[in-house]
Symmetry: C2
Subunit: 154 residues, 2 copies
């Protein structure tokens, strides 16, 4: 089980999401939401919060579960919680080269590390547009069967 969060910062009506540039393989140099393997003796929420602190040095308030993505060919289930970034004192952890806030228009879609991340971000921005019109965030589930085949970043 891989647990992570979608750390959101909203100021002056603009939404930004905190992404980490991976310092480790697989997918070194690509951008990801903070996430990692759940450990024993912790809950899914604790794992999501811990990974966000470890990889992005971010102080967050965890919100409801937002996405559940099955990746059966690698025997993984990825889950992402929505999260409110509490301040801007984030910093790259040892597994990140860089940590940065991105507005939707600036998301490096071609340089995202994993399809679970890109799909979660797509669901998130889609829901966020609905929330602005009085809707609400849902729980999104997706099964990803296709192994990842992408060129190395240039």
């Amino acid at each position: 089980m891989v647990l992570g969060s979608i750390p959101a910062w909203e100021a002056d009506g603009e939404l930004q999401i905190l992404l980490c540039k991976r310092a480790i393989e697989p997918r070194r140099g690509y951008w990801t939401l903070p996430a990692g393997f759940m450990e024993n003796n912790e809950t899914t929420e604790q794992a999501a919060k811990r990974e966000t602190e470890e990889e992005a040095g971010a102080n967050i308030e965890l919100q409801p579960l937002f996405s559940l993505l099955n990746v059966p060919h690698v025997h993984q289930v990825h889950m992402f919680y929505r999260a409110k970034l509490l301040d801007l004192n984030y910093a790259a952890g040892t597994e990140s080269l860089e940590v940065k806030l991105f507005a939707e228009k600036d998301i490096p879609w071609d340089d995202l590390a994993f399809p679970t991340v890109s799909n979660t971000l797509k669901f998130f921005f889609s829901d966020h547009a609905k929330v602005r019109e009085g809707g609400s965030y849902g729980l999104h589930t997706l099964d990803i069967y296709k192994p990842m085949r992408q060129p190395e970043p240039t």
Copy 2:
């Protein structure tokens, strides 16, 4: 990860839930929702459906994820999907002594196998009452820290 379902049968305005009496330890002789360990190469939905077929011989249509329960002291995460029971041709599998439909008032609350099951059923009936008044089912999350300490069934 333990995946299961809440197989619901609704007829003449009455809701009934399919429970299985466990034929195996732990908690042999106690009632449970059909559920079991997720296997490699399957999705959470496939696991929930497979376990329901194996333990209860039930034909179901899987509905959205309903509960996610962390049980950190045994290193488990339990998830239950709502499910529509498609017919009454269910039958106990090898891991069940008996499979039976229960209305809410008949649920054997004192003889349920696991707190993840009793809490999921409580959430379910509570939501079902809201659905009858125009509400909707939610996603329920709960962390269960207390190890189970209950007497053997008499």
